[in-house]
């Protein structure tokens, strides 16, 4: 149990410090660690947890808490949450005082311009991996993913409605598939 908690703490503390560009960039690595390396759950279970977390309010990385819960119960949930949110916020709080000097440095926009495409590549990888894992059960689920993508790009409809629509669409599958 302690070994598992330590492994979870190490994985999520590392992810916390690698999450340049926000939580969506680290989903592939989280999935790789949790599903492939440690085999704590299947890829489909992982996406189910991701979906549950997306349906709840708050910052979009609550999937971390659920992974901890699924792997090691309440202690796991607490360890993962602290490990994921601790390191990056401590870093931010520490750098707050020197940010004034830092933000006017000439290298800063260059660094940001270089990191931006890495972030985009990681989010695109997340999108493809999560789509593939969540739609493995049935090809018809790809229709839901495609429709939600389209609606999200073309309209200003609230994401929560799209999630609700997707859930209903999936429910309809009970009778049609």
């Amino acid at each position: 149990m302690t070994a598992t908690l330590l492994a979870l703490a190490a994985i999520f503390a590392e992810l916390s410090l690698l999450a340049f560009g926000g939580g969506n960039t680290i989903l592939p690595e989280m999935q790789r660690q949790v599903v492939d390396v440690h085999q704590w759950m299947s890829a489909r279970e992982f996406t189910a947890l991701f979906a549950l977390a997306q349906a709840a309010p708050g910052p979009n990385m609550m999937v971390v808490t659920l992974v901890g819960w699924r792997v090691a119960g309440l202690p796991g949930a607490i360890v993962c949450t602290l490990a994921k949110f601790g390191p990056c916020t401590v870093l931010t709080a520490l750098l707050l005082r020197i940010w004034d000097r830092f933000k006017q440095a000439r290298w800063r926009p260059l660094v940001q311009a270089g990191i931006a495409p890495v972030t985009v590549g990681l989010v695109a990888a997340s999108a493809v991996l999560i789509t593939e894992a969540s739609n493995r059960a049935s090809w018809s689920l790809y229709a839901i993913t495609a429709l939600v993508t389209l609606f999200s790009l073309r309209t200003r409809i609230h994401p929560l409605w799209l999630l609700a629509g997707g859930g209903l669409g999936g429910l309809a599958g009970v009778w049609f598939v």
Binding site: G58, T65, W69, D100, V111, A124, T149
Partner: protein
């Protein structure tokens, strides 16, 4: 440029640790998907903890560092007004309610996950969540579409992570410096 550590020129008095906790607790409860626009509304317009310029400065720091913007923002704002206790209050306030809610959802899901209705409902939900992620990546890709160098980095990163399934740490440690150097060398 404003000095982030000095007292601000905002009209409202600096929030107490309790007010910081409650402010972010509120944000954590109402924010679905994108919390950032709501955070801006609360801190700049409603409670006037920060001016627009201060908000932009802080956001710059939070975007520059690893971690979610709003996560880092809660710690930065708390730290700025009340030091370490404020930072802890900010982040705890932000994640307290969502943590309880997702765990409640997980307990319910765990109990009924073998029910075919629940399986299909969550299956559809996951497909929709994937769609939202696809839309986000398209939106992030569009501003880079005319920059060949950036697109090349996007493609290499995508292949390394999604196709080859390489670990993030070595990919990041190699690709980020290379990309920064290339972008610095070939910028317009």
């Amino acid at each position: 440029m404003t000095d982030l550590t000095a007292p601000s020129g905002v009209e409202a008095p600096p929030p107490s640790v309790g007010e910081i906790f409650l402010g972010f607790l509120h944000l954590g409860l109402i924010g679905f998907g994108g919390v950032l626009p709501l955070a801006h509304h609360m801190m700049v317009e409603q409670r006037r903890w920060l001016t627009q310029a201060e908000f932009t400065d802080l956001l710059g720091l939070c975007q520059f560092l690893p971690g979610g913007n709003i996560i880092n923002m809660s710690a930065a704002v708390g730290m700025r007004f009340r030091g370490a206790p404020g930072a802890v209050a900010g982040i705890c306030g932000l994640i307290a309610a969502p943590t309880v809610i997702v765990l409640a959802l997980a307990v319910v899901y765990g109990r009924y996950q073998d029910n075919p209705y629940v399986t299909h409902l969550v299956g559809g939900l996951a497909a929709a969540a994937a769609g939202l992620l696809c839309a986000v990546s398209v939106k992030m890709l569009l501003p880079l579409r005319k920059r060949a160098l950036s697109l090349l980095v996007v493609a290499v990163c995508f292949v390394a992570i999604a196709v080859l399934r390489w670990p993030l740490l070595p990919v990041m440690l190699t690709l980020a410096p290379v990309s920064i150097l290339l972008h610095a060398r070939f910028r317009k």
